[in-house]
């Protein structure tokens, strides 16, 4: 459904266009890819990047500003922040990925139920989704934690459940669109039954973008999980989790700003990098 005509290619010489494409499209992707690789390395083998113990306390060094010995500084108990940020990657990434998996899978189930089911199932699922949409996602996560209690696993579940309605809505719409497409009509004319139509044509075409959507969703899930930790509802304080570290540094914002700056940067960089990479996938999928 293209409303606007394709724009004529502007009369620019080819080489400059290629150069511009390199600097405006490719450069951010390369940077994002590098950041993401760094975060992945930190998550898989934190000991290699930061050999120290993230929980080791050195009260003597408390509140040291960033220096050669402590590149990100130290916190109120003298723990090395660089070590903690590196070791926190696995927790943040794990929560982000797990929450997104939960969200997309639940979204798939709901979306398929609404998109494929009878008018009644569609109406029922859609109304539930609309109610969930009425609540802000983070608020929904808070409600879920209120029932399940704090901790990293409830936080993951909560973020997953809170993002599910969005995915469900996208899948429902796509399934509906493919079901009424000419291609499915042509298959019906050839005598295909409802099950073949669904398995062979509708679901593969409707759900193709799930990977792209999930990649885009990981960044958001990381931010949400960190928010919950910041509120003290995720990983408990001594654990090196980025959100929890933000919360710990909040009290000392004036005397030791590095306590919040570095974990905050880690969250922003990771979320932004996953989003840029996800968008690159989405663009490749459209082409």
């Amino acid at each position: 459904m293209t409303i606007l005509p394709e724009l004529p290619v502007l009369p620019a010489a080819a080489p400059t266009r290629a150069a511009e494409w390199r600097s405006r499209v490719m450069a951010p992707r390369v940077v994002a890819g590098a950041v993401l690789l760094g975060v992945l390395a930190a998550a898989v083998a934190p000991g290699l990047l930061a050999p120290g113990d993230p929980l080791a306390v050195h009260p003597v060094d408390a509140f040291s500003a960033p220096s050669l010995a402590h590149p990100f500084g130290t916190d109120d108990s003298g723990r090395d922040l660089y070590t903690r940020v590196v070791h926190g990657a696995s927790a943040s990434l794990l929560i982000g990925v797990a929450a997104t998996l939960i969200g997309t899978l639940l979204g798939l189930v709901l979306g398929i139920a609404a998109g494929v089911g009878t008018r009644l199932t569609d109406a029922a699922v859609s109304r539930v989704l609309e109610v969930l949409f009425a609540l802000p996602g983070l608020l929904l996560a808070l409600v879920i934690i209120a029932f399940a209690g704090p901790g990293p696993i409830p936080a993951t579940l909560a973020v997953g459940l809170a993002t599910a309605p969005g995915y469900a809505r996208i899948f429902r719409t796509r399934i509906r669109a493919v079901r009424s497409s000419e291609m499915v009509e042509a298959a019906r004319v050839l005598g295909r039954g409802p099950l073949t139509l669904l398995v062979r044509h509708v679901l593969p075409n409707a759900l193709a973008p799930v990977v792209v959507l999930a990649t885009l969703g990981v960044g958001q899930a990381i931010v949400w999980a960190s928010s919950l930790s910041y509120l003290g509802l995720g990983s408990p304080p001594p654990a090196p989790e980025w959100g929890a570290m933000l919360e710990a540094g909040r009290t000392y914002l004036q005397i030791a700003p590095w306590m919040t700056v570095f974990p905050g940067l880690a969250i922003v960089a990771t979320a932004a990098a996953t989003t840029v990479v996800g968008r690159a996938f989405a663009g490749a999928g459209r082409r």
Binding site: P8, P11, V189, R192, G193, R200
Partner: protein
């Protein structure tokens, strides 16, 4: 109202004081390259005031690129020995200088009125923009001028239409609005890029008339078209393009009646108008097995046509009625299709042709009426009972591409059709796929391609192969050649004809193109406002139409030619 145009045109108006004889557009050795690859080369022609030159050729032949180069919009590297409008050199103009040419000197009427007009702005604003940018007229004068131009192009109630957006106008009115916008500045040259594509016969005639009058009033008109009927009526000279080069140019009558170049001959031969049923349209091409000359009937083919009343009735509709709310889309439609014959279904857009096809295919249920397939009830049955017999009734559509699963290769699409959906694995069926592809004139290598990577004609051939795979008795063809170039259309029509003869297929052929329907059909049914107003032998309906609607339809079409 024509006087106001004449007063501002270069032929009679001497405001710019140019010498007679040097006026018009001069194109010499035009070359347009994209990234070093020539899209158009060695194109030369002259366009004098009061003359219409038509650029003719298949899609991809460089017609549109040429036209856009004349507007400084090609986007590629343009070089030419001479590219001039009157005494203004158009080579090497800056973007700023081009803006002074585009609009006031050279106007453009674009192909697709739906996408060429801003959907959020009233059409009067589009015209007003041009006037505001290029003239010193005040708001009231501009308003006056916009109304005047809209009236000139035959826009009914210009004062009301002026305030409407493109979405509120029909296709014909939109096209007129576009022409009005191009004419508002009274340009010396008007370039019309496929101005009549996708228009009904009647609107088609109005647009051609308007462009003809513009030419008569002294404007130079460059028409780009693959519709040779329209070109014959409008153009003084024709420039035939192929693969970016001019293959032939000359006076209209000479090019169309005595084409010299083989390509022009193929182009002219491909036009179905006036070619009897069963005669070939395409020259060469992959479908040719008995290399017949175009226009010649195949030996013995008329005898094999079982259009007498004795052959088997394969598809019958009795009193089909379908209402959507209070709107009756199909009203008491009855028709009979016999084995081996083609029934043409014609009518303006919105007359209920496609809804009828959907009812026959069992994709929609009628409010009243009955469909029978091979003498057995079809449409009152539930889909579950219809499914095993669906193989008997195939369909091909206008947009072949959107009827394919975009993720499946041609081979998998065909295996799915061959095995009745049991599998999409190619391996065990490779030989059958090759045979099927050969039958529709495609090489076996197409099997591993995705439909999106094929040309329009190839896609329609794959669609035909898919429809043939389950060995149907009846094919419903819904505008199957409407989006194809005339030469490709000729090949597909020839292929359908060949397959019909080989397999004894019955076709219900839906089209808004009367020439195509007349060429392919044994019998014709004419639809208007959901009803079949006339039905009978093709030649009888076309030469002696009984119903006034049919007469009107034919009159509009013939005067458009």
């Amino acid at each position: 109202m024509s006087g106001s145009v004449a007063s501002g045109t270069p032929a009679s108006g001497s405001s710019s004081g140019r010498a007679p004889g040097t006026g018009g557009l001069h194109v010499e050795n035009l070359r347009v390259a994209f990234d070093g690859v020539d899209a158009v080369r060695t194109v030369s022609f002259e366009l004098a005031p009061g003359e219409c030159v038509a650029l003719v050729g298949e899609s991809g032949s460089g017609k549109t690129v040429t036209a856009r180069a004349l507007l400084g919009l090609s986007g590629g590297t343009v070089t030419a020995t001479r590219l001039a409008l009157d005494d203004t050199d158009l080579t090497g103009l800056s973007e700023r200088q081009w803006r002074g040419i585009r609009g006031p000197r050279i106007g453009l009427v674009q192909q697709d009125a739906l996408v060429s007009l801003d959907p959020l702005r009233p059409i009067g604003r589009e015209i007003d923009d041009a006037l505001r940018l290029h003239t010193t007229l005040g708001a009231a004068e501009r308003r006056e001028r916009a109304l005047e131009v809209l009236a000139e192009v035959g826009m009914p109630d210009p004062a009301i239409r002026r305030a409407q957006r493109s979405g509120e106008l029909s296709g014909g009115l939109r096209q007129r609005a576009l022409i009005a916008a191009a004419l508002a500045l009274r340009p010396d040259v008007v370039i019309a890029d496929e101005p009549t594509t996708a228009l009904d016969a009647e609107v088609h005639r109005v647009v051609i008339d308007r462009l003809a009058r513009l030419r008569d009033e002294g404007t130079a008109v460059l028409a780009i078209s693959h519709d040779l009927g329209a070109v014959r009526r409008l153009a003084d000279r024709i420039v035939v393009m192929r693969a970016g080069e001019v293959v032939e140019q000359g006076p209209t009558a000479q090019i169309l009646d005595a084409p010299a170049h083989p390509y022009t001959r193929a182009l002219v031969a491909a036009v179905p108008a006036g070619k009897p049923r069963g005669s070939r349209l395409s020259v060469g091409g992959p479908t040719v097995q008995n290399s017949g000359r175009t226009g010649e009937k195949r030996a013995g083919s008329p005898a094999k046509r079982p259009n007498d009343q004795s052959s088997e009735r394969v598809l019958e509709a009795h009193g089909l009625t379908r209402r959507f709310g209070t709107f009756t889309a199909v009203d008491d439609v009855s028709l009979t299709l016999r084995a081996g014959e083609t029934l043409g279904l014609v009518g303006a857009s919105g007359s209920g042709k496609t809804t009828t096809a959907r009812l026959l295919l069992g994709l929609d249920s009628p409010d009243h009426g009955l469909v029978e397939l091979l003498g057995a009830p079809w449409n009152p049955l539930p889909e579950r009972e219809r499914r095993p017999r669906r193989a008997l009734l195939g369909a091909i559509y206008q947009d072949a591409l959107s009827s394919f699963d975009p993720r499946m290769t041609v081979g998998r699409i065909l295996v799915d059709a061959l095995t009745n959906g049991k599998t999409t694995r190619i391996r065990a069926h490779a030989a059958q796929i090759d045979a099927l592809l050969a039958e529709v004139g495609l090489p076996a290598s197409v099997s591993s391609r995705l439909p999106a990577t094929l040309s329009g004609g190839q896609r329609q051939r794959v669609a035909i192969a898919r429809a043939l795979a389950p060995r149907p008795r009846v094919l419903l063809c819904d505008e199957p050649v409407s989006s194809l170039d005339v030469t490709v259309q000729a090949q597909v029509l020839d292929l359908l004809d060949e397959l019909q003869e080989r397999h004894g297929l019955a076709y219900l052929f839906i089209s808004h193109d009367l020439d195509v329907v007349r060429h392919v059909s044994d019998r014709v049914a004419v639809m208007s406002a959901g009803r079949i107003v006339e039905q009978g032998e093709t030649e009888q309906v076309f030469s002696a139409p009984a119903h006034s609607y049919t007469r009107g339809l034919l009159a509009a079409a013939s005067s458009a030619d």
